[in-house]
Structure formats: structure tokens, C-alpha cells
Symmetry: C2
Subunit: 248 residues, 2 copies
């Protein structure tokens, strides 16, 4: 049984402003909620009797399928909807010494929730455990993004930050990769096992301020005779780039 | 100026049944319509004065922005909406001799319009000029697919066919690739410059009937320590696979 106030509260979490004020985000479905429960402690769980039976220790608020539909942001809600605290990562977890031992992604102004969700899923697949997002990147705790990650948001750390300022804290010779029109063919390049891979906005690519700080310029070449697609979708370009880094 | 009948006619083209009866599909926006006009003759064009001024020879029906909004399937219609005949490819253009000289994609039950559109765009980028779709793959002339291709649908031929039957017409040693859980690491495999690459359904992968006819089994390995994403999105897997074929 849910109250009107509970319903209103959950529905308001569609708005970034409200999510930030409350420090909470919404996750839905057995897979996404299940993955998050392995790492994070939930704030509230609303679940149908079916889910509760399988998770007797979860202390979920029982709801009817109809109540779940009213709470949900999905077309086809699936057994459970939970609120989790938005993870806050301490500065110390993403300082230069963390950088220098691994590969991370930096997203510069990604706008589409589906793209961000897919990129988080790709990072998870390729064992990239941190994504740095520019302040103007779409919010990762938007319900659309959370669902598009298919649970990967439970395993990848997301840090919103001032990207140019972050890049300025790095040693000058630290590898900062970016795919740019004047870059070198990615298939022939030496790629390091640590570094930052910058992916840019859907329409405009990497911003000028960040571009100046990219010191390894890459290009994914096309293979079409004559005219071809103008560009690859940013999630597709991310996948190809991560695949190139990892296969070596 | 558009009539009520014209409006109704265009709106009905959202349905596959109606598209097949009329042999027409809808394309929208300067980029997609522009790319299609380079290859195909349109049936009807509805365009704002702005577009007409730039395309005086197109003989478009002039519409107001408000009329365009009523015709459109897009949230933000952009200057032009056109109807094109659905291309019909003769059997002779996709017989075994065409296969044996190039790389093509075969899609086995792709359901999501966005995924199909993205895959068509990927094929275009990687110079793959034909995609064979199983009969139960989502219709490529669905307005959502057409828009998701960003114009690539003008350059890639799409053939709906009985996939197992098509595969049976090929020489037995002709390379038919598929990504399967028991496949060999794609990064270490010899990949041919001709062959058919089969990509399967979002949830269930490649169907049993098609799987039996795959003679080169590939696997995209993950790189996560411990638990990871269960799978890659099918469009992402297609991109990584095409990238591996083309980079060699």
C-alpha cells in the first residue's frame, strides 16, 4: 500500500533538481535493482508480492501491480522499484594516483540519456571502473539513464566534475586520448594501458577547452567508397575505442 | 496546404501493413531526405518555404510549420517530410556471386527500431552495402528506424528474407560468422574479407535454425574482474565486430 505522498515523492525524482535535493535516485526491475542491492544499501523498496517472496530480507513495501504502474517510469514495470542514495565519491578516490594506474573515460557534454546509459554499460564490459562527466553531461541518475545501463550503474563509478580543471591536475605527459577529425588512425596506434579517453558531445564533439588538453589524437576511419555516414553515434565510437584499447 | 486526406494518408504510414500496401515510407528532416533524394525518386515531398527556397527543382508541396508538425512523427520536425517508394531489390542482386565478393550483415530477429537504425548506420560507416533481415526483424521502413539511420538508409540495401533458406543457398564452406557464447575470441581470429556476419535478437541471440548454419563462431570477451554486464547491446556488438573485420 502506498500513500499519495509516497507516490508524489517518487514521481518527483524524475527531476534532477529534486534528485539532488533528496540525494536519491530511482531504479526499476529485478535486474537493475538486484545489481544495485549487491553494492548499495537502498533507501526504500516498493515491490510486488512475487518479488518479496524471493527477497524476504529486503524489507520492501508491498505494492500491487497497479500501484507499481503508478510509481513507475517504465512502460512495462517489472516487480520492483527502489530508491537508492546517489553515491558520493570522495575526491581521494579519483586523484592522480588513481588515474595513473588505470584506464578511465571522460564524457564532455553527452546529452542523450540513452547514450550515457549505453556508455556506462560499455565501460562495465571493458573493465573501466570510473567515468568522469563534465558538469553539462546529462545526469546519470536520470531514470532513463539508470534503466539503459541494465545494471552496470551499480559497478561503474560516475563522477561529475569540471573536466578542464581535472585535466589540469594531471602530469603533462599523462595520456589524454580523444577522437578528433584530425587524429591518427586508431587501428595503427600504440595505446597505453592507462590514461583518460575523452568522448565528446553528440553534435559538437569535444569542447575547445577540453580539446586543448587532449595530447593523443585518435581517428576511427570509415571504410566506405565515396559518401558515407557523417559520423558514428557517440556510444558506438566509445565501444570501438574501448575495444581497441583492450584487445592489445 | 495539405488536405485532411493527405494528413490521414501520411499518418497511416506509421503502420507496417499500410506501408506494405502502399509501398511507401516516410523520411524526415533535411539530412535524411537529402541523402535519400541523391539515390531515390520521391513520391511526395511536403516542405516549408525555407526548404523549398533551397530546393526549387524538388516540386514539393508547400506546408506551414504547423502543418508539418501535424504530419510529422518527430518531436521537433525539421523543414521537410517526404514519402519514398520502398526499394524492392531483385533476387539477382543478392545471389551467391554477390555474396562471395563482399562482407554483408544478416540480422536474425532484431526487435528494437533504434537498434536497427543504429546498425544500418554502422554498416554504412564500415562499407557494408547489404543487410539481410529475417522476416521477424523489425521493419526498416518504420519511421523510427528511418530517422535513427541518420540518412544511412539511403546507402545500405535492406533485404527481408527467410534467413535459414538463404543460408542454404550458399556454398558449404562460405564463411558465416556469428557471435556466440561458445565462440572463439574475436581479437585473435583470422577474419575473411568476404562473408556473412549474423547478429541475433536482443534477448535470445541467434535462433536455433540460423545457429546451425553458422560455421565461424566468434566471441567478444569482456575485460572485467569479477561480475560484469551480462551482455553488450546488439548494436554495440555489431560495431565491435565490424571494426574487427575492417581493421585487418
Amino acid at each position: 500500500m502506498i500513500s499519495k505522498n509516497q507516490l508524489k515523492f517518487v514521481r518527483q525524482l524524475e527531476q534532477k533538481k529534486f534528485r539532488r535535493e533528496e540525494g536519491l535516485f530511482v531504479a526499476e526491475g529485478t535486474k537493475v535493482v538486484g545489481d544495485l542491492l549487491k553494492r548499495y544499501h537502498p533507501h526504500t523498496i516498493f515491490a510486488t508480492p512475487e518479488w518479496n517472496e524471493e527477497h524476504p530480507k529486503a524489507e520492501a513495501t508491498e505494492v500491487t501491480p497497479d500501484e507499481l504502474r503508478r510509481l513507475s517510469f517504465q512502460q512495462h514495470p517489472q516487480q520492483v522499484l527502489a530508491l537508492f542514495p546517489i553515491p558520493t565519491l570522495r575526491e581521494s578516490t579519483f586523484n592522480a594516483s588513481h588515474f595513473t594506474s588505470s584506464l578511465a573515460l571522460a564524457l564532455d557534454g553527452i546529452q542523450d540519456p540513452g547514450n550515457l546509459g549505453t556508455i556506462i554499460r560499455i565501460a562495465d564490459w571493458f573493465g573501466i571502473d570510473t567515468i568522469y562527466c563534465s558538469s553539462d553531461t546529462v545526469d546519470a541518475w536520470n531514470p532513463k539513464v539508470v534503466q539503459a545501463t541494465m545494471g552496470s550503474i551499480a559497478r561503474v563509478d560516475i563522477v561529475y566534475t569540471d573536466l578542464p580543471a581535472l585535466l589540469d591536475t594531471l602530469p603533462t605527459d599523462y595520456p589524454v586520448y580523444g577522437t578528433l577529425l584530425d587524429g591518427e588512425n586508431i587501428y595503427n596506434q600504440q595505446l597505453s594501458s592507462e590514461g583518460l579517453i575523452v568522448m565528446g558531445n553528440e553534435g559538437n564533439g569535444i569542447s575547445e577547452a577540453v580539446r586543448q588538453r587532449v595530447n593523443r589524437r585518435l581517428l576511427i576511419p570509415d571504410f566506405h567508397q565515396g559518401e558515407t555516414a557523417d559520423s558514428l553515434n557517440v556510444a558506438i565510437a566509445t565501444a570501438i575505442t574501448c575495444s581497441e584499447f583492450r584487445r592489445r
